[in-house]
């Protein structure tokens, strides 16, 4: 089970995320986001673009390290890992 925490900025669009951390069974980041989208419909579209890659200003950390594959999300998730889904510090 991955334990997933979210930036509070996503709570505005997905109020149910205020109950995070969310526990999700997944072996890769791609699987994780797919499973999150089932539980919170539409969430994948906030994190990934049309082609399934992470949006430019979205950061995903696994055990505090940024994921390496932002295009295809192939980074593996070990059991009991901690995932943080954050926004980049950009904008104005």
């Amino acid at each position: 089970m991955a334990r997933v925490e979210f930036t509070r900025h996503l709570h505005r669009f997905f109020p149910a995320l205020t109950d995070s951390p969310i526990e999700i069974e997944a072996s890769s980041v791609a699987e994780l986001i797919g499973a999150l989208d089932v539980r919170f419909p539409g969430l994948a579209g906030y994190l990934c673009d049309d082609s399934g890659s992470l949006r430019q200003h979205v950061n995903v950390f696994v055990n505090a390290l940024p994921v390496r594959d932002r295009l295809r999300l192939t980074d593996a998730l070990a059991p009991s890992c901690a995932v943080h889904i954050m926004q980049a510090l950009s904008g104005g």
């Binding site: 900025h9 996503l10 669009f13 539409g42 579209g45 906030y46 994190l47 673009d49 049309d50 082609s51 890659s53 949006r55 200003h57 979205v58 926004q87 980049a88 950009s90 904008g91």
Partner: protein, 373 residues
């Protein structure tokens, strides 16, 4: 519900602002999406539904609709570019080996209703150049393949202007024949379909683009906005990057009607009278390397003779120290009413076709779109 023309919808950098006309004044009628850039917002006159395209910096482009004038909102699935579709790098590139990247939704430039007798049809103009069509009131969207697969795009003749990639900002449905549409693309030009989008014809003849080494290509022009006279649909106007053009033959030929020696040349917005095709308004700015108000003074320029002469309308507008520019969707008209919003957050309105202006406010966020509803 307010009658048509009695609602003002501002799409701003910090949210959607509504105003309603009461007792001869515009009164605030609600703020939605506070803090979120609204690239375009409009009310579909056929259904009364309020639509808003959002441009989240982090979470991508979203599309929402409200059936109660902004009190409650429903996010609908934003269109997606089909898997496997690619775009080339940002600027004009005919090199088939130029790097490609996935085509993804980057911006919702405009939302347009279909014809009067097809109330479930809507169009979205997007960056990087896709026209999306819905036939179920916006529940689902499909990319118009014939335009996306147009040989000129595949040949690398579409490119970014103002933003990184080509964008469709103008969608004009002929009120007499909903299968006849024009789209304006920056940068590519104007395209027409007469068969509901099954095939598209380039309509750029007569334009001149002095930012290109060969200024008269068939495709590669920058119409900042294209407008059609609803009462005489063979009359079209465009505020182009390189001046103001009009057509009297359904966009088959364009004639430059920029003002010689006056302010009406560069700009982004143009509106045409609903009935008189010779009457149009533009929002002048200093050309393109500078992009501020002409002479530090705000004006809207109007022609009533098809562009032979222009009159700068200034009464009620500040005439010194202005840096405002009116973006392409920032000027609108409903009957005798006009209004415009600027890049520095000023909004002005007129009840007499622009003769006299009054200020709605000086402290709004940057205005991307202003529409009457």
């Amino acid at each position: 519900m307010a009658p048509p023309g009695d609602t003002l919808i501002l799409g701003t950098r910090k949210g959607l602002l509504l105003f309603e006309r009461r007792g001869g004044e515009w009164k605030p009628a609600g703020v939605s999406f506070l803090g979120i850039p609204i690239s375009y917002a409009m009310i579909d006159p056929r259904t009364g539904v309020l639509w808003a395209g959002q441009d989240h910096g982090h979470w991508g482009c979203k599309l929402s609709r409200s059936r109660d004038r902004g009190r409650t909102w429903e996010e609908v699935a934003a269109p997606k570019y089909p898997e496997g579709e690619v775009i080339r790098n940002s600027m004009m590139s005919v090199d088939p080996k130029a790097p490609e990247k996935p085509a993804t939704l980057r911006y919702i430039w405009c939302i347009a209703p279909g014809g009067e007798h097809e109330p479930q049809r809507l169009y979205l103009g997007t960056e990087p150049g896709g026209l999306f069509v819905s036939d179920d009131g916006g529940e689902t969207w499909a990319l118009n393949r014939p335009l996306w697969d147009h040989p000129s795009r595949l040949a690398g003749q579409w490119f970014g202007g103002g933003r990184d990639h080509a964008g469709i900002h103008s969608i004009l449905v002929d009120p007499n024949d909903s299968k006849r549409l024009f789209v304006g693309i920056s940068c590519a030009g104007t395209f027409e379909t007469a068969d509901g989008g099954a095939s598209w014809t380039v309509r750029n003849h007569g334009l001149r683009s002095n930012f290109l080494p060969e200024p008269n290509p068939e495709v590669g022009h920058d119409p900042h906005l294209v407008a059609m006279c609803p009462g005489s649909t063979k009359h079209l106007w465009q505020q182009n990057h390189c001046g103001i053009w009009k057509s009297e033959d359904g966009a088959r030929t364009w004639v430059n009607v920029s003002e010689n020696g006056g302010p009406a040349n560069f700009g982004f917005a143009v509106v045409v009278d609903e009935h008189d095709p010779k009457c149009a308004w533009v929002a002048p700015a200093v050309s393109d390397e500078c992009r501020v108000a002409v002479g530090g003074a705000l004006c809207i320029s109007r022609t009533t003779d098809g562009g032979r002469t222009w009159k700068a309308l200034r009464e009620g507008l500040p005439q010194e120290g202005c840096y405002d520019v009116v973006f392409r969707h920032g000027l609108d008209k409903a009957g005798d009413r006009l209004a415009f919003g600027t890049t520095t957050g000023n909004v002005f309105w007129s009840d007499d076709r622009g003769e006299r202006w009054r200020c709605l406010g000086h402290h709004f966020p940057l205005v991307y779109s202003l529409r009457f509803g």
